[in-house]
């Protein structure tokens, strides 16, 4: 068997830069001389950012009140007393009085906060039918199986909207009253109940089924409201643009929260005299207490907050940037010391040779 060194062709591999791994390449080395200025720059930038973010969050004001009504904690305990196993008496209301010593800068946002409520539980969060909520008439009368046991009523009628998330809709309501002078009358502060849910949720994802003879009630004919709802879905609000599946409170509730302690936007205060904020004076929040949370050890809170470009009040981001920035600079100094020492040692070694 002869070994032929001259036969070229089929078995010889290609001699291109790619197949012979000769591609031109950049070969950076992460050495101290690159890392040091990088660390100092990053550290300074982060400290600057951290200060800015912290200051931004510092300027945000928040005011909250726990109105669960545990015994001995204020007015709402009367409503909550009956709450242990059943829903509280219908239309029980309680009041919260507070006074603002100075202007609460606006625009002010009103949230309700629930604790120990696991909207992120898997069985709960799959219990919905997005096809039904998108207004498809066929899905309206045939809700998905994931909604069980909130799929059909005992009478056999399909539930619209189906599912456990819809069934547990938050139904407390608040109204805000302002007393300009002590002893004077209380004036209602207008609460803007629109613009609280994502625009795409209200206008694209959730759609009412097509009107029948111009009536939304007829569109929902043949369905029943969820068991815990006092009124059917088309009567959620007197405003025809904000009722049915596209009711903003409903849409806000259907966006399940990530953690067991969560807030949802209830209203914006931005009309008339109150567009720049809540002026000083005494205020009254009239709470209609419907939602039972004491049965599972939860709490209900009402929160006033103003919002900056980065959202609500959370100093975490500012503090985290400051910490990481200072660590960067600290490490930069340590590296500088080591680098200088190493250079000296290197020079000594070279001199010794």
């Amino acid at each position: 068997m002869t070994w032929s060194a001259t036969a070229r062709g089929a078995h010889q591999p290609d001699n291109t830069a790619f197949t012979q791994q000769r591609l031109p390449a950049w070969q950076p080395l992460l050495s101290a001389s690159i890392a040091l200025p990088l660390f100092f720059c990053a550290g300074l930038a982060f400290i600057g950012l951290g200060l800015g973010l912290f200051y931004s969050s510092y300027g945000i004001k928040e005011l909250e009140y726990d109105y669960t009504g545990n015994p001995g904690t204020g007015n709402c305990s009367a409503c909550a007393l009956a709450d242990q196993d059943r829903a509280p008496p219908l239309r029980c209301s309680c009041a919260w009085y507070f006074s603002l010593p100075e202007l609460f800068p606006g625009p002010v946002y009103l949230y309700y906060e629930l604790t120990n409520f696991y909207q992120n539980n898997r069985r709960y969060s799959v219990s919905r039918d997005d096809t039904q909520l998108s207004g498809l008439p066929s899905a309206l009368l045939h809700p998905a199986n994931e909604c069980a046991p909130y799929q059909r009523r005992a009478s056999g009628l399909p539930i619209a909207p189906c599912g456990a998330i819809a069934n547990s809709l938050f139904n407390d309501s608040f109204s805000l009253w302002h007393q300009r002078q002590p002893g004077g009358p209380y004036v209602e502060v207008p609460l803007d109940r629109t613009g609280i849910a994502w625009w795409t949720d209200c206008h694209v994802k959730f759609r009412n089924p097509p009107l029948v003879n111009g009536s939304l009630a007829l569109a929902f004919q043949g369905t029943a409201p969820p068991p815990n709802w006092p009124r059917p879905v088309y009567e959620l609000s007197p405003d025809p643009n904000n009722t049915g599946f596209i009711n903003q409170d409903f849409v806000v509730w259907m966006r399940t929260a990530a953690l067991p302690t969560f807030r949802k936007l209830y209203a914006r205060i931005r009309q008339g005299n109150y567009s720049t904020g809540l002026p000083r004076g005494t205020y009254l929040v009239n709470i209609t207490y419907n939602y039972p949370v004491r049965a599972f050890g939860g709490h209900k809170l009402i929160v006033f907050s103003n919002i900056s470009w980065m959202g609500g009040k959370n100093p975490f981001l500012g503090i985290a940037y400051l910490v990481v920035g200072s660590l960067c600079i600290l490490m930069g100094f340590v590296m500088l010391v080591v680098y200088i020492r190493y250079q000296d040692q290197n020079d000594e070694d070279e001199d010794a040779e």
């Binding site: 950012l49 906060e113 994802k205 981001l317």
Partner: protein, 484 residues
């Protein structure tokens, strides 16, 4: 070996020789003796011209290759079927044995007891003299005696010799020696190089079998794992290709575990906050595509193209091979480093996002709230960016393809998420992710959080790398410095 001689013949002498030869050839009895007699008569008083010999030349650069193998910390044993003297002289000429080495011999042992006694003597001699290097010569019969009863003693002697030569080996004995080394306590990795049909069993037995396509045919090459044309190619095969592939595969394995630890640990942590109800943190499409689309290409291209040191440097400095000996890059220590890094990154991703949300404050400028899918997508985004940038930190050889896949993966993730969340998919039952990604990106806080978490995760890693390179650079790192 032949010797050449000549003699002038006159025509009378020639006729005499011719007649005698004819008689001897045509004799009816004792033809061989008569012929031998005549040839004896002819071949007298010749004048010597010289001797010819055939040299079975060693291939080109065998000496340098064996020297390089020794510098790399690889122990070289020669197993041959030649006889003792030939084998020893070939060993000396190819650099396997030095002139300065002390050659110990275990040859011509006739009995078990004799063999044992000789082995003990050799062991003692090795123990006495530490400074000088020892070489051992064993022949086939002595080897089989030694292996029958005194394996441990024999391996002990072999281990302390820097070069071993086994002569008069039958093909199966070669395989047996390799088996013996494979099961010895340190469990070394064995590589067998051969060029003939008698090397086939040895090539198949060793961990890596290399056949040299040579004059003795293609049997060895056909049965080997790798076939090369010349012995000298072994140095490039091991020190360049072998070294590259080891680095590539070791990093591939470690990185895969790391990125999957980063992927699943936040899911696990989330269970503590959702009543252990197995709610996923990320959308199911993200779960599916993470390993396939978003993080697969950078590591694939790394494991095809990475060259941590220039090939010429690698070939000229065989000692660099010691940096990867004993499977160093897949050792427990390295694995623990990558896994703990993965866990710490996962904790930073999850708890960074968790504390960002705090008591569920709004992260948007219009006061609206995020849901659980936005939270999960935030964690996922930080994760994809961090593991890709970690891969970028590990890469040392940036071709245009590396740039394309690394930055392209991140860009693809963004584009895919925008596309996936921008449409109401008709065939999907639940529209959980509709517009979630775009809402996430429109939050200034989320962007700052992403930058912060990516930097925090990689910050410690960068510090570690820089300190290691400054304070105790490995030979590899020093070699990387010399070429720049």
């Amino acid at each position: 070996t032949l010797c050449m001689a000549y003699k002038h013949l006159t025509s009378k002498e020639y006729e005499e020789i011719d007649r005698r030869l004819f008689e001897a050839r045509t004799a009816l009895q004792q033809r061989e003796e008569k012929l031998a007699h005549v040839f004896q008569f002819i071949e007298k008083d010749l004048i010597l011209l010289g001797a010819t010999a055939v040299e079975d030349r060693l291939q080109d650069r065998v000496r340098e290759t064996i020297e390089a193998l020794r510098m790399a910390g690889i122990k070289v044993w020669v197993l041959t079927g030649d006889k003792h003297e030939t084998a020893v002289s070939v060993s000396l000429s190819c650099g396997h044995f030095h002139r300065t080495m002390n050659i110990l011999e275990l040859v011509n042992q006739k009995s078990d007891g004799e063999c044992a006694e000789q082995l003990r003597q050799l062991a003692r001699r090795i123990k006495e003299d530490h400074v000088i290097q020892h070489g051992l010569v064993v022949d086939g019969t002595s080897l089989s005696l030694a292996l029958r009863e005194h394996e441990k003693l024999f391996m002990e002697v072999c281990r302390n010799c820097s070069a071993v030569l086994c002569c008069r080996m039958a093909p199966l004995q070669k395989a047996k020696v390799i088996r013996l080394i494979k099961i010895s306590p340190e469990k070394p990795i064995t590589l067998a190089v051969g060029d003939g049909a008698n090397d086939v069993s040895m090539i198949q037995e060793a961990h890596v079998g290399i056949g040299i396509m040579g004059k003795e045919g293609r049997q060895a090459a056909r049965n080997s794992d790798y076939a090369i044309a010349r012995f000298k190619f072994l140095s490039k095969l091991l020190f360049v290709h072998g070294h590259f592939y080891y680095i590539r595969i070791a990093t591939l394995v470690q990185y895969f575990f790391y990125k999957n630890v980063c992927f699943i640990t936040p899911q696990f942590l989330y269970q503590f906050y959702c009543l252990f109800s197995q709610q996923t943190l990320y959308d199911s499409v993200y779960l599916t595509l993470y390993n396939i689309c978003f993080t697969s290409l950078p590591i694939l291209i790394y494991s095809l193209l990475e060259q941590h040191i220039d090939p010429h440097v690698l070939q000229s400095k065989p000692t660099l091979y010691r940096d990867i000996s004993k499977n160093r890059q897949l050792s427990i220590k390295t694995f623990l480093y990558w896994t703990i890094l993965g866990f710490s990154h996962a904790f930073i991703f999850f708890f960074g996002s968790y504390f960002l949300i705090g008591k569920d404050i709004s992260l948007l400028g219009n006061g609206q709230m995020f849901g659980n899918w936005t939270f999960g997508t935030l964690v996922f985004t930080v994760m994809v960016i961090t593991v890709t940038v970690k891969m970028a930190l590990e890469t040392h050889f940036w071709t245009w393809i590396n740039h394309l896949v690394t930055w392209g993966s991140i860009i693809f993730y963004f584009i895919f998420s925008l596309f996936y969340g921008g449409i109401l998919w008709p065939f999907l039952g639940s529209q959980n992710m509709y517009f979630v990604f775009i809402q996430l990106l429109s939050s200034g806080s989320a962007w700052f959080a992403i930058i912060l978490m990516v930097v925090t995760c990689l910050f410690l890693d960068i510090v570690k790398k820089v300190f290691d390179r400054q304070l105790h650079p490995t030979n590899t790192e020093k070699a990387q410095l010399t070429e720049t």
